[in-house]
Amino acid sequence: MMPEVADVETIERRRMNIMLGIVVLLASAPILVTYFVLIASSFTNQMITGGIIGQLTFTLENWILFFEGKLAVTAASVLSFWDILRYIFNTFIIAFGVMIVVTVLATLAGYACSRMKFKGRTFLIQLLILLHAFPGVSLIIAVYALYIFSKQPLPASAWTFYAFLYVIVARAALEVPMDVWIMKGFFDKVPWEIEWSAIVDGASRIKVWKDIILPLVKPGIAAIAIFSFIAGWGELIYVMVFLPATEKTLATYIAGLLAGGSLEVVHLPVVAAAGTLYLIPTLVFFTFVRRYMLQTSLSGIKG
């Protein structure tokens, strides 16, 4: 009897699986279709949605035009290959900077919140959660006022550098509260016995943190590093507000191409190539985070 019962269960489960799979697939159609349109159109002579199917041909021209800094075949080159390269590099610098700042601050503060007793600890942790939810738009006016104020004493030649530095730290600040909370969770899982034995042996708190605890929370560090990289990579508003108009990232470049809905000069598949290129690092890192998160839940040390 038993195998038969199990069989019935499996068929029941399989039917539910297929049914749910199809329903969610249909619900996911807008996501699948829009991403497909973007990526596919970057390889065709016209937007795949508008053209008559017979006239669509495969081409790499959009990508070549994009890297040449051209917006259409007939358009004059306003930008050069080096400009585009610089935009990509700028995007990377912001993302990398945000990643470094967030990771360092969160690994430090996460440890303190998890492991050290101090006055106002509960208050601080609650404040962090509250700050994470705080309306960023109501801060940006004052953050920008602080920026103009603080750059005044600097020589004009240092302004661009200062703008990059400021945008990195200001953008990282938005990620810090949540990532401190996440890192605290990872530190919470490390058994106290490991730390006690090291401290009893006479090691300082900082040494214990660096040599013994950090290697145990590597998955957590990787997760917040990648998350903050993705956040910095995709940032638009802060980059647009703080960087001088000449220093673009892929976000502000794409935003500028379509500003005012201008169509006459811009060949839309070229924008699709820019967007696809911009999307690739996110896709790659995103698959990493998912894998890391899986590993974390499987290999996480029991607390």
């Binding site: 996501i31 829009t34 600890r121 959660i129 700050l131 801060l139 006022a145 104020f149 508003i237």
Partner: protein, 314 residues
């Protein structure tokens, strides 16, 4: 506390505290201060020392009462938050339920797919919808509707006065809803997963249908998560404006009926009239609502209980 202990604490907490104070606490008060000054065009040297009392607030209330464009902002904000919130919470709940009853592998794939819009750079995500809602024949929506012979000519859903305000609202709600559901999905899914499997199996053995399991086990046990997600999402809808900003800039939606309060604050300060005093006054409203909702959210999930005391700090 010993000096060396204090120094150690400073080493760990100092940098994060510095950033938090500089970019949250100081701006919060500075922003309120700016709302009492006539600051325009970012001329801080000239205006930051002038105190004009409540004039900006009076102006704001006057505009709210008499300017039809501002009334559009208020109505749009209310409709946008209410409808998107329902979509986000219930959409997230449905996705979490569907993926909970699925095979693990399949559910992970779908969750990854639904998280993708959240991870995608905002310029690319908005570009997807620029192509989708484009007012010419290349817009996917127009292409589909024309293929189905529902329309003869391409339509500008978010711009054409005939479809306003509904067309613009539909677009901003749709675009934000698709990002928002993944949050509810993740929280509900992990909440369902943390319910002991024995409960579900026992119910199954007793012959309970899937619908009854959902109604009598899964939903009652995740009531608090429901409250938390609702409040948290309301907060993020109140303040998120990057996608809508691009959709307005790119002429996908109308700048009057596609403008929420947060976007109004940003545009007033940075792009349109550059009146930072007025924008700061408008943003104070957001801050007050934000702090109130944040406190409710903190209560809802009982974070305080989750903050364990350090076991044995030496």
């Amino acid at each position: 506390m010993k000096v060396s202990r204090k120094l150690t604490l400073l080493f760990f907490l100092g940098p994060a505290l510095f950033v938090v104070v500089l970019f949250y606490i100081v701006p919060l008060f500075l922003s309120i201060y700016i709302s009492f000054t006539p600051m325009t065009d970012w001329n801080i040297n000239r205006y930051l020392t002038q105190f004009i009392g409540l004039q900006n607030y009076e102006r704001l209330i006057h505009i709210m009462m008499y300017d039809p464009d501002m009334r559009a902002v208020i109505i749009t904000t209310c409709v946008f938050i209410a409808v998107t919130l329902v979509i986000n919470v219930f959409g997230g709940l449905l996705l979490a339920l569907a993926t909970y009853f699925m095979d693990e592998k399949l559910s992970l794939a779908y969750q990854g797919l639904w998280l993708l819009p959240r991870m995608t750079p905002v310029a690319v995500y908005s570009l997807l919808w620029y192509y989708f809602f484009h007012s010419s024949g290349i817009g996917l929506l127009n292409a589909i509707l024309m293929r189905l012979h529902l329309i003869n000519h391409p339509i500008a859903l978010g711009l054409d006065p005939r479809y306003l305000p509904w067309g613009a609202w539909f677009i901003i709600i749709f675009v934000n809803g698709l990002v928002g559901v993944s949050y509810g999905m993740i929280i509900f899914y992990s909440a369902f997963k943390s319910i002991p499997k024995e409960l579900i199996i026992a119910a199954r053995v007793d012959g309970a249908s899937t619908g009854r399991i959902i109604r009598h086990i899964l939903l009652p046990l995740t009531k608090w998560h429901f409250t938390f997600i609702t409040v948290w999402q309301m907060l993020s809808l109140l303040t998120s404006f990057a996608q809508i900003f691009l959709l307005v800039e790119w002429r996908v939606v109308d700048s009057t009926w596609g403008q929420t309060w947060a976007l109004y604050v940003f545009r007033t300060a940075f792009t349109t009239v550059k009146d930072q005093g007025l924008a700061a006054a408008a943003s104070t409203f957001l801050s007050v609502i934000g702090i109130a909702l944040g406190l409710v959210a903190l209560k809802a999930l009982g974070y305080k209980k989750m903050i364990l005391e350090p076991k044995g700090d030496i």
